[in-house]
Amino acid sequence: MSETAMPAITAAKPRRTLNRAVIRFAGDSGDGMQVTGEQFTTEAAWAGNDISTLPNFPAEIRAPAGTLFGVSSFQLQFGSQRVYTPGDQLDALVAMNPAALKVHLSDLKKGGILIVNTAAFDQRNLEKAGYPKDDKGEPKNPLNDPGLAEQYRLYQVDISGMTKKSLEDLPLNAKEKERCKNFFALGLVSWIYTRPLDPTLDAIKKRFAKNPTFVEANIRVLKAGHAFGETAEMFSEHYGIEAAEMPPGVYRSMTGNRALAWGLLAAAERTKIPIVFGAYPITPASSILEELALHKRWRVRTFQAEDEIAAVTAAVGASFGGAIGVTASSGPGIALKGEGIGLAVMAELPLVIFDIQRGGPSTGLPTKTEQADLMQAMYGRNSESPIVVIAPSTPGDCFYIAYEAVRIAVKYMVPVMVLSDGYLANGSEPWLIPDAKTLPDIPVAFRTERQGFAPYLRDPATLARPWVRPGTPGLEHRIGGIEKQDVTGNISYDPENHDHMVRTRAEKVRRVAQEIPPTVIHGSESGDVLVVGWGGTYGAITAAVEEAQIEGKAVASIHLRHLNPLPPDLGQILRQYRRILVPEINSGQLVRVLRAEYLVDAVGFNRVRGMPLASQEILEAINQLLEAKR
């Protein structure tokens, strides 16, 4: 760390050590809250904390300023212990305007830190935020309500004014100066939680490399915010959070979508087979396309298709050509891709599909998270059309899941759907960088031998048919979406053959179970309640279960990575617990599968708000189930 960056901490103010903190920056879409949150995340990461983040922004690109629906926020939890979620209730809230205060105040703990930018609490903004009017017909300023300061540790700071003042002598216009105010807030919060400013200073220098005035302005404002915390009479103490005990190694911050993209790069590098990635822009999946487009050096060919159907069918065409065909979308796009995925099922070609789930149905909540595409993934195509379904549990896990999807797809010649979600896609965590060499091998053998060749000849272990690259002499053959005779691949309308092929396609997917390692049980191997989760709820479930365990309850959890086929040991595990709880951000999809598959009396815990589940509410559901048992 550079020596200049950290302003000296005066001994005047005491520093209290905390285990963890949950803070949220909230403001207008144009207030730079995402950048502020990401920067604070980096600072906390530098300090060695474990972290989980939750960016939350409106679907509108430039929502009207000051409105409730234009509020953008970034929440993170950082701590000296394992941090599984972005946190339920806030220890600190920064509200840059009245709308942000109105939207987010209810999430702040009683007694929590509340920092408001007083300059933004003018009549216009109060009106836009819809605060009730007084007798004179003027909107009431919530900051004048004595109850606010009674319930929270309210800090009224003229962030805009002080930002302007510290930039007085710089040749910037008023708008440009105003835009720096988020760094004042960041400087102040960095002081409150004693996180190092170094990474932010570096980032400012990099970001505005071409404009030294902007560098100067943002650094000044950042330091002004920091100094304000230190010197203003307002703050009587600040907090330290020790570095977390994390496995040793080199870390980086990782978001789910970037991890998916990089996992594909790792697979391309290992297989030495080009990837053709077809996609049509859709929230929250677009950033995978954008990320991959940066990495042509891995022979990843990105194709921004004319629509979702072209995106998936181009991927199928690429797989037919001997490349790894990949497509990505969110729920609405996956619905359009159904027939194309079915073609890959029928043609028995490898295909990887990323579904970054969002709130639905229809357009739904494009920027919010949900887990309601499990049924679509498993059954959302015509006829008997089984595919492999897997789900990552954390942003960093997306790297491994993408790699695993490719491995299974080419080994079994099947489509593999990866169910990520908006929360994993945009959320980030400190990620222990793996040694790429330790990733499992992905053997690919294209058939070139003519002797005994038939298009639907099957590998006895995997039931995979041979993958033949067009251009291979002597193996010219035709495949397609019409039912085929097994082995020869000739068109066949024979009833018994169709029945046989339906079973064969299902068995092929079922055999992927041989790839699944023993299920990891978080807790003891039998007990009162087993919590079964999948996907992005991993953090919330784990935090809740750990808390229940600390309270001495016989509760364990498992988190399913493989949803189709399910792990071979799952049935046995389910029978070791009295009750089974399945928390999901849907109306009960995995729970239905488990009940059908294993005839167990599993119950769901379901909230579909477009937001991650809170660990506290899962804990309550566990406790209720424990009580119901008695």
Binding site: Y251, E269, D307
Partner: protein, 343 residues
């Protein structure tokens, strides 16, 4: 069986027979598709490309059974999507020779969007659109090229929607090669297919094809001997656009953008519209012409040579990225940017 691998020019001497597959052809007896299949098989040896480097991709419909009958690589896919599948294949394997076989319903109705985009991108594929102005495989509903007022099973009182002209569509989409031919003129069809197949970039051929079961003689204007003489207009590059009986030849002159039919004998040859297949604007006008007001142009409406293809640009960008910064290395990528060490 071919024993030669990969490189074009190293293809063995093929005959038509080398391209016939072992599958029974299942079109209705008398279908125009038989003549097209034969013409395509006959064209193949002329390409000088090893058989294993040729791929036929189709969608759904009568025409789309085509790949099964070609002894090359083939993929019979889903309705309307063949252009997108071919695009993915060319992205993965730019060196392959890829044909797309489609029909008026497959290519212009359910797959209209993909046809538009494969053409505008100038993907190096040869697209054969069999236009019979009817849905055959679903047993006789009207198609997007059926004439207004067409009475079919789904339009008992006549269709209410106006037809699209496939060639005009392809030209407007930005195809770099557009031609029209007819299933009952074998020699012309072979010649046209040859030119299309040799074109680099998106080549589009409309083949007027007879469905003798559901829309017999839809192209009678070009089948009937007398009508054919009056309306068929063979385009020849560099020559005046003429048609009609030998003793009463007609030609076209342009009045502004509007073509006017004239008697060849009544104007000097220099006044006649001379066909220039490289002229896109002229091709756009040609694409609009139809009987009875105008002749029906057959042959190459547009042939824009030397245009860069989509996949060429993709590969160029990839090679530039590799030559600038080297092959990708995941181990380096993972460590690039902001990292920190613990323990």
């Amino acid at each position: 069986m071919s024993t030669v691998t990969g490189t074009p020019g190293a293809a063995p001497k093929y005959t038509k027979k080398d391209f016939e597959s072992d599958q029974d052809v299942r079109w209705c007896p008398g279908c125009g598709d038989y003549a097209i299949l034969s013409a395509v098989q006959k064209t193949m040896p002329d390409l000088g490309i090893p058989r294993e480097d040729i791929v036929f991709i189709s969608g759904i419909g009568c025409s789309s059974r085509f790949p099964y009958y070609m002894n090359t690589y083939g993929f019979h896919t889903i309705h309307g999507r063949a252009p997108a599948i071919a695009t993915g294949l060319k992205l993965a394997r730019p060196e392959l020779k890829v044909f797309v076989v489609t029909g008026d319903g497959d290519g212009l109705s359910i797959g209209g969007n993909h046809l538009l985009h494969v053409l505008r991108r100038n993907v190096d594929v040869t697209i054969l659109l069999f236009n019979n102005r009817i849905y055959g495989l679903t047993k006789g509903q009207y198609s997007p090229t059926s004439e207004l007022g067409k009475v079919t099973k789904s339009t008992p009182m006549g269709s209410a929607d106006r037809p699209v002209s496939p060639c005009a569509f392809a030209l407007a989409a930005g195809a770099t090669f557009v031609a029209r031919t007819v299933d009952r003129n074998i020699a012309h069809m072979e010649e046209t297919l040859k030119r299309a197949a040799h074109h680099k970039g998106a080549a589009f051929v409309e083949i007027l094809q007879n469905c003798n079961v559901y829309n017999d003689l839809a192209w009678n204007v070009l089948y009937d001997k007398e009508s054919k003489i009056l309306h068929e207009c063979r385009l020849e590059d560099g020559k005046p656009i003429t048609f009609g009986p030998a003793d009463d030849r007609r030609g076209l002159v342009l009045e502004g953008l509007k073509p006017k039919v004239v008697k060849v004998s009544e104007v000097p040859e220099s006044a006649l519209w001379k066909h220039d297949a490289a002229d896109r604007a002229a091709a756009m006008v040609l694409g609009q012409l139809w009987a009875p007001e105008y002749p029906i142009p057959l042959g190459t409406l547009l042939n824009q040579e030397g245009e860069t293809t989509y996949e060429e640009i993709v590969v160029q960008q990839e090679q530039k990225a590799i030559s600038d910064r080297g092959q990708g290395d995941v181990a380096k990528l993972l460590m690039a940017g902001e990292t920190w060490k613990i323990g």
